[in-house]
Amino acid sequence: MIASAAARPPDSPIGIGGESFVVELDRFQGPLDLLIHLIRSQDIDIFDIPIAHITRQFLQAIEGGLDRMPLERAGEFIEMSATLVRIKAQMLLPRPEKFEWEEDPRAELVRRLLEYEHFQDVVHVLQTAEAQRGRHMAKGYIEARPAPVIARPSLQVTLEELLQAAARIPEPLPPVSFRAPTATVTVGEKVSLLRRLIGKTKRVALDRLFKPWGTRAHAVAALLAALEMARQQVVRIEQTRPFSPIWLFASGRREGDAGPGEAASGAGTAIGEAAGERGGE
């Protein structure tokens, strides 16, 4: 298709076809930059671009170079190739005479090229401004000598401040002896305890299960026991609103006979029974 439409001789002055051109592709910011170069370097009238000619040159220019580009960059060139081929195809189609200038398929491309060239001019303006600005030196341009390293105390305090600081140091705490609880608490124990409690009172506040023991192992075991029983659908865990107390209900029987106070005292008793091994406090 490209070859069939190429009426113009491929008299490009930029040595298309050689590897050298492909390498130079890096020099271009993108497809518009390359197109501008092709057009301007051959003194082509931008308002009358020989699309077939330019398309062939463009394709030849990017051929081989695409492999070496990041995919995204290659895609940008390929997209422009597609645009050029589409324009060329459109130009081959017969157009109604009276709307000719409105329907020049090249119009949008030319607009983009001119716009791009405009901003290239702005780039030159900015480059010049940047270079000029670089010729004005501010204070500090010549680097200050590194400050001498003086061996001085980094912190200066008066004797009074030092004494005050010393006074703020708390008395050493009396030696604390910790006794690691040797007794282990199992989830199974807690399950049976919970069963007993639930059986007695029909409902238990979850936090009441934790409070009386005070050691983490007990709390974890109690929580796991509650979850395990909920999983087995022996109990139902409910909470009326966020952050309100969580209650365990005997499954299937929501109305407990005993109030939470009683449940707690019951729990307390049970703890008394079960927590003979309790260490710590």
Binding site: Q29, L32, E100, V123
Partner: protein
Amino acid sequence: MKPEQIVEATLFASQTPLTASELARADESLSEQEVETAIGVLRERYEADGRAFQIYQLGDGYQLLTRPEFAPYLERFDSIPRPPHLSPAALESLAIIAYRQPIGRIEIEDVRGVSATSVLRTLLDWELIEVVGRGEGLGRPLLYGTTGQFLEHFGLKSLGDLPPVDELPVALGAPEAPPDGEAAVPTTPSEA
């Protein structure tokens, strides 16, 4: 102390541009207006005396800088690694933002024909552009604009220092009317 002496001392000691209101902080009796006046007095005096420096306006701020003709002498002392120049790709996007701000990434890419993502990050890192808002379109795209640092970097007083569109060799947009005949390009009035 005279106002121009206070302003001169402050500018001399500063390594960054200072606005009139910042300079006025040097003394309670100093108003912004007096600072501006003092700067005018100093500028004329430096000019008349042929000093090697001058007060330049960079964005909103003023800074005491050497005159460009002394750059070759000072560059001999150049031991500080200079900030690298902006790449052509970065300048391209910056040019588009400067003239079209506020503008989104997609519109920048439309003009350049290439992706602008990494370049925008560079410009944001350099604080030459900033996010100035969000567009109305799909996904409420970020809109970018130039910063005071942009003016400072290029030694501009304001965006007005950039050449107006019609002074550039190629006018922005398509020509007013298609040049005679069939090969002409239509105007695209929708393009502002």
